[in-house]
Symmetry: C2
Subunit: 305 residues, 2 copies
DNA sequence: TTGAATCCATCGCAAAAAACGATAGGATGA
DNA sequence: TCATCCTATCGTTTTTTGCGATGGATTCAA
């Protein structure tokens, strides 16, 4: 049985005539007769009773007609589903993101995307950069917002910088250097550094170290905390100073200040990362949304001025 | 697009391999490749991404797979529906019946039939014989329980006697003839006859007349009533006597009696009637039930002894 | 690194299926 | 009775489908 049999049978049943069906289908009448006969033979039951003067459907024919129509509707539905899936209008998009660095702009971005693609299912998974790399290997996410992946893996992925930040220094409000608008990092070589824990963000931690090196020293003591708010609290309690990302300024109270540093750190990018190679339409359309939104994200996340 | 495309695609997607699908389908691998390609061309989207070492479904492919599976299930369902319809297991059976003569056995008969064919939809329509004839012409019923149709229409129908009854006489309990066990109809030639109205059952009415003729007279006065209970009531009120069917004995009170007559009337059959020609399976299976039930119906409806 | 194995795509040809045109048989209606 | 309309059947042509052979690409193992 093929859809052709159903198409012909539906035409015959709808017009109650072989010859009318043949005209509608632009097919010769013997082809219709033959096809209906084949269908009846395969099903093992007469579907049409051929009386003189027109035809009638048997009970089996009526039952089959209803099913056949349903099938044709679904066949059209299948085509439409493919069209829509291939335009990225339907499907599932699994997003990994760094909660601290991407969390602030993710909700608005998703909302924007769903406005245009309301039938896409979005799943958010908060993961650090390391976890995202693994999630890609396991095929668990389609795109990630993370720090750059190790260079040796870069061929497997495409990435695009969403925004960049710098390291700045958090000082207790009463600290001597707090009066300057740009702090010379060398002046802090004797301080205890309070930082976000290494494993949580190796790239960030590494940048802290190398920025100090660039200033000509290695941090004497480093306290690591697993929560950024704990880091700030420690500074405000006078335990030390912290080199951290500018956009954390929102967490500061009156007890601490954020200052630019000299020498400046490298730029610390937050990237959108996805597997190299053929790209699913849901992802492609999401990337379009992301690119359109990027200026807004940059404005929000990068240090003003 | 044909079901073949769906079958092949489902096999490819299920096995995640063209060559494995070709083995399962007992079809050469190039045929699979070509068919999937044709399908993709028609849908205007890649369904399968051919990587080295195995293949992957695209988002469009996944969307299509779900639909395709659904369609194949429904296609099987359509075949099954036809099988069942052609065995009379599903469908709709519209029954016309004489309420007085067929009503008493119809419920049990339907119940019996539905026990074996629970998915048949039964619709009951109470109609007199004349209405049933018209209902057949309009294609409104599939089988009728009625008095025999006029001979000139008999070629269009097949009929089968369900049970037969005789005319008997209903007399007021105090009537002179009520003492006899068999009443000589001649003795009643001067009586008023109270009968079920002619149009309601021409065959029955005609038999009343011809039975009187057989006894050698024409009824002097005939009162017609539209309800059998009114007929009985009239007799019990002393308005006359009534030649009627034996099985109405159930309606009688102490005020009237039912007696056999001499000469006996012709047998009055109640028939199952259906259109000649090809016969729908729902009807065929119902006829089987009817034939199996007929002895019980006869016992119930015909006069004992 | 090389050779064997596996996988999918392509090509030319053969087989099968579908469609066509002609025509026959049956019923209807003027 | 003849003309008309409808469906079934037959033989032929066209289209589709399938097969075998082959090639490029990749993987795995020696």
């Amino acid at each position: 049985m093929e859809l052709r049999h159903l198409r012909y049978f539906i035409a015959v049943a709808s017009n109650m005539s072989f010859s009318e069906a043949s005209r509608r289908l632009h097919v010769a009448q013997p082809a219709i007769s033959q096809t209906i006969k084949d269908l009846e033979d395969e099903l093992g039951a007469k579907l049409v009773s051929r009386n003189s003067r027109g035809i009638e459907l048997t009970a089996a024919g009526n039952a089959f007609l209803a099913e056949a129509r349903e099938i044709m509707v679904r066949a059209d539905g299948a085509k439409i589903a493919v069209q829509r899936a291939s335009k990225g209008e339907i499907g599932c998009l699994r997003i990994g993101f760094l909660p601290c660095a991407a969390g602030p702009f993710i909700p608005a971005l998703i909302k924007l995307h769903l406005k245009e693609f309301p039938n896409v299912e979005v799943r958010l998974h908060d993961m650090n950069t390391e976890q995202q790399l693994k999630a890609f290997e396991d095929g668990k996410i389609d795109i990630g917002f993370a720090r750059p992946f190790p260079k040796e893996r870069s061929k497997e992925f495409v990435s695009e910088i969403v925004y960049e930040d710098h390291l700045e220094i958090v000082l207790p409000a009463r600290h001597a250097s707090a009066k300057k608008s740009v702090v010379d990092l060398k002046d802090l070589s004797g301080e205890t550094f309070v930082e976000y824990y290494r494993r949580g963000s190796p790239a960030l931690f590494g940048e802290v170290i190398s920025t100090c090196r660039k200033a000509g020293f290695s941090p004497k003591t480093i306290l690591e905390f697993g929560e950024m708010s704990s880091v700030i609290l420690a500074v405000e309690s006078g335990l030390g100073v912290s080199l951290t990302l500018g956009f954390f300024r929102g967490l500061l109270s009156r007890e601490s200040v954020l200052r630019q540093i000299k020498p400046a750190s490298s730029k610390i990018p937050l990237c959108a990362i996805w597997p190299a190679g053929p790209q699913e339409p849901v992802l492609a359309s999401f990337l379009q949304t992301l690119r359109a939104r990027k200026p807004t994200i940059k404005r929000k996340m990068e240090r003003p001025g």
